[in-house]
Point group: C2
Chain length 347, copies 2
DNA sequence: AATAATCTTGCAAACGCTTTCAATTGGAGA
DNA sequence: TCTCCAATTGAAAGCGTTTGCAAGATTATT
C-alpha cells in the first residue's frame, strides 16, 4: 500500500483448473466443483479429476477463489504489537481456533500505520479478509467506523465499547481485582498499594473499581496515596513501586494491574533488598507465562487468555455466518492463582 | 482449506473502479492507472478521479489487484509458534521492515498442519503470497520442496541448510558461545556447565562447538559430565541445571544455550537457595526482553533479533525483485551483554 | 506548415475460479 | 410406454483489477 513496488506480470507456469479439465476430459466447471466440495459430482468423474490434478500438481489459487466466490477464509487480526505475553497467548488461542476451521490469519500490528488506521482497515476489509478481530483496540471507533459495510463482521477483545453493542470477549476484571484484594486482606494486609493499568482501557478501570470495592467491603478506608498510575508495562510498574515504597508509611502489599507491572514491582523490591513475600507481598493480573518463571513465582489473577482468543474466533464466525443474529458479548471468569509472592504482613 | 465452510456469494455493495470511472467521466482503465501509480495521467484527470473516489468511498480490492497483476504484496511467515521472546522479537523486525515496503504479513504457525506442511506451503505460495520467510524451520527440506516453482522466493532464518544454497540469515553462534565461555573463564571459572539447545538446529551445535573451543583454547580439559542435553526451553534448562547441580563436584558457572534455558537454571538455583551470582554464575544466549526483567538481570550473548528479521525481509525482496542474482547468506554479529548474573567463583 | 515524438486515454483481453442456468441422461412412477 | 424428477455436466457470465495495443491529442522539431 504505502510504497508501491514494481509489479511484473506473473510468470504463470502454474497449472489451473483448465489444465486439469483438459487432462481429465471434463469441463472446468466440473473441476471447480470437485475441489470446492460440491456434492453432486459422479464418483467416477471425481476420481478422474483428482487423479489428473495430482499428476499435474494442481493447487487451488485462493485469490481467484475468493474473488469469484466472495470469501477468502482469511481473518485479519489487529493487535497493538507482539511484545507481550498477554497478547501472544490470546493470539495463540485465535490461531488454534482458526486452524480448526480452516481459516488463515493475517496479522496487522497497529503501530504500523499511525494515523492511517482507518484507511488501512478499509483496505483489508475490502475483499482481503472475511472478518476482523480487534485485540485491545485503543481507538475502537476509528476502526469500526472505517469498516466498509455497516455489517462487516468483527469482534472486540478486551475492550468494551459501552456505546456500541459490538460482539466482544473479555474477562471478569472487576471480580478478579476484587478477589485479589480480598485475598490480601484475608492474609492480614491493611495497607495495600495499587498500580493502575492504562486507564484508557476499560479493563484498567474495572480492576481499579474491583480493588476499591474490596477495600470498602472490608471497611478499610481508602488512602489515595496508595493508588498510583501505571500503564500496564514493566517500566510503569517499577516506577509505581518506587513511589509506593517511598511513602512514609509504606504498603505491606502491592497489587499491580497486570503481571508485567508486577514484574516491575518485583525488580524495584529486589533492588531495595526487600524480600518477597517476607517484606512485601506482590500480586499481579493475567497470569502470563512469565508469571510462573520469575522468582518468586508470582501470585496472580488468571485470565483464560487462550480461551479468550478461541471464543473471539467463534463469535466472529457467528457474525460471518449469521449476521442477522444479535451480537453477543462473552465475559469469561478469572481465577486467583496462588503461588509464592504473597504472605501475611511482617509486623 | 481443511474444513470447507459454506460460502455465500458476497453481498457486494462495494464500489469499484467502474463506479468511480462513471462518476469521474473517464474509462475504468484510467481509474486503475491513477490508483496503481502509473505516471502518465493528466494531472487534472487524476484530481477528478481522486475526488470521485473519495466521494464514493472507493478502496482498492487487493485480491483482484493481485489476481490481475500477479503480485499480492503479502509475505508469508512460517514460524513454529509465538510463545517465545526470541521469535516475537524477530517477527517484530520482520513486521517493521515489511511495513516500510508496503507489504503485509500472513502468519502461519507450523504446528497447525502436522503432516500437511507441504500441501499447505504449496497452497499459500500459489498466488497468495509473494514470498515466504521460514523462521527456524525444523524440516526445511519439506517446505522447500513443496514450493510451486523452483525459484519461488523464500528466505531462511537461523537454520543453515548446509546442503542447499538458500538465502538465509543467522548470527555468529559459534563466536558468541566462545565469547561467553571465555568471559566465564576470565572471571576465574574452571568448571563450567553447559546445557545444549535443541541439537537438530544448527545454532545449537554451533554454540556447543564454541563452548568447547573456548575451553580447549584455554587448556581446560573437557569434562563430559558438564555438558547436558537441553531443548531451548525453560523446562529443559531447569532439568539440565538439576543434573549439573547434583554433580559431586558441581560447576561454579552454567552456560545455558539460550535465555529461556537460563531462566530455568535460575529457578533451579533459587530453589536450592543458591545465590546468583554469589554461589553460581549463569549466562544465557539471545538477550530476549525477559533477560533484563529477571532477578538478577541476566548476563547473556545478544543476538540482534530485530535486525535479523529486518535483514530477512530485505533478502527476500532481493529474491523477489532480482531472482537471477545469487542467494546471499548474512551472518550478523553477536555481542556479550554483561549484567548481574555472573561473578568470580566463590572459593 | 508538415512531421515526428510524447502524452493521454480507452478498449478489451486476461488473471483463475465460482455459480447460475439450462441441457442431458437415466431411471422411477403411473 | 410416457412423464417427471433427480443427478450430472457444460456454457457462460461474472468477481475487480492490470496492462498491451492502438488511436487521438499535444507539443516539439525542422
Amino acid at each position: 500500500m504505502a510504497t508501491a513496488r514494481p509489479s511484473r506480470r506473473k510468470v504463470s507456469n502454474s497449472v489451473t483448473i483448465v489444465d486439469v479439465a483438459k487432462a481429465a476430459g471434463v469441463s472446468y466447471s466440473t473441476v471447480s466443483r470437485v475441489f470446492s466440495g460440491y456434492e453432486f459430482v459422479n464418483e467416477e468423474t471425481r476420481e478422474r479429476v483428482v487423479e489428473a490434478a495430482n499428476k499435474l500438481g494442481y493447487v487451488v489459487n485462493l485469490q481467484a477463489r475468493s474473488l469469484a466466490g466472495g470469501r477468502s477464509n482469511i481473518v485479519g487480526l489487529l493487535a497493538p504489537g507482539l511484545d507481550n505475553g498477554y497478547i501472544t497467548e490470546i493470539v495463540s488461542g485465535i490461531d488454534q481456533e482458526l486452524a480448526q476451521h480452516g481459516l488463515d490469519l493475517m496479522l496487522y500490528t497497529t503501530h504500523r500505520y499511525p494515523g492511517k488506521e482507518a484507511f488501512y482497515v478499509k483496505t483489508i476489509a475490502n475483499g482481503l479478509v472475511d472478518g476482523l478481530i480487534l485485540l485491545v483496540p485503543l481507538v475502537t471507533t476509528n476502526y469500526i467506523q472505517a469498516l466498509p459495510r455497516q455489517d462487516f463482521p468483527y469482534v472486540l477483545i478486551d475492550q468494551t465499547n459501552s456505546t456500541s453493542n459490538s460482539p466482544s470477549v473479555d474477562a471478569t476484571n472487576w471480580q478478579g481485582a476484587y478477589d485479589a484484594t480480598t485475598y490480601l486482606i484475608k492474609l492480614g494486609h491493611r495497607r495495600i498499594g495499587f498500580i493502575t493499568g492504562y486507564l484508557e482501557l476499560s479493563s484498567a478501570t474495572e480492576r481499579l473499581d474491583g480493588y476499591r470495592a474490596a477495600l470498602q467491603h472490608h471497611r478499610i478506608p481508602l488512602d489515595e496515596n496508595l493508588t498510583v498510575m501505571g500503564d500496564y508495562l514493566t517500566t510503569g510498574g517499577y516506577a509505581g513501586a518506587q513511589k509506593l515504597l517511598n511513602l512514609a508509611e509504606r504498603p505491606s502489599a502491592i497489587f499491580a494491574s497486570n503481571d508485567l507491572e508486577a514484574i516491575g514491582v518485583m525488580n524495584a523490591a529486589h533492588q531495595r533488598g526487600l524480600r518477597i513475600p517476607g517484606d512485601i507481598s506482590i500480586i499481579g493480573f493475567d497470569d502470563i507465562p512469565q508469571a510462573s518463571l520469575v522468582y518468586p513465582r508470582l501470585t496472580t489473577v488468571r485470565q483464560p487468555l487462550v480461551q479468550i482468543g478461541q471464543v473471539a474466533v467463534r463469535l466472529l464466525l457467528e457474525r460471518i455466518d449469521t449476521p442477522e443474529k444479535d451480537a453477543r458479548r462473552v465475559t469469561l471468569s478469572t481465577e486467583l492463582v496462588i503461588r509464592e509472592s504473597c504472605a501475611p504482613p511482617a509486623g
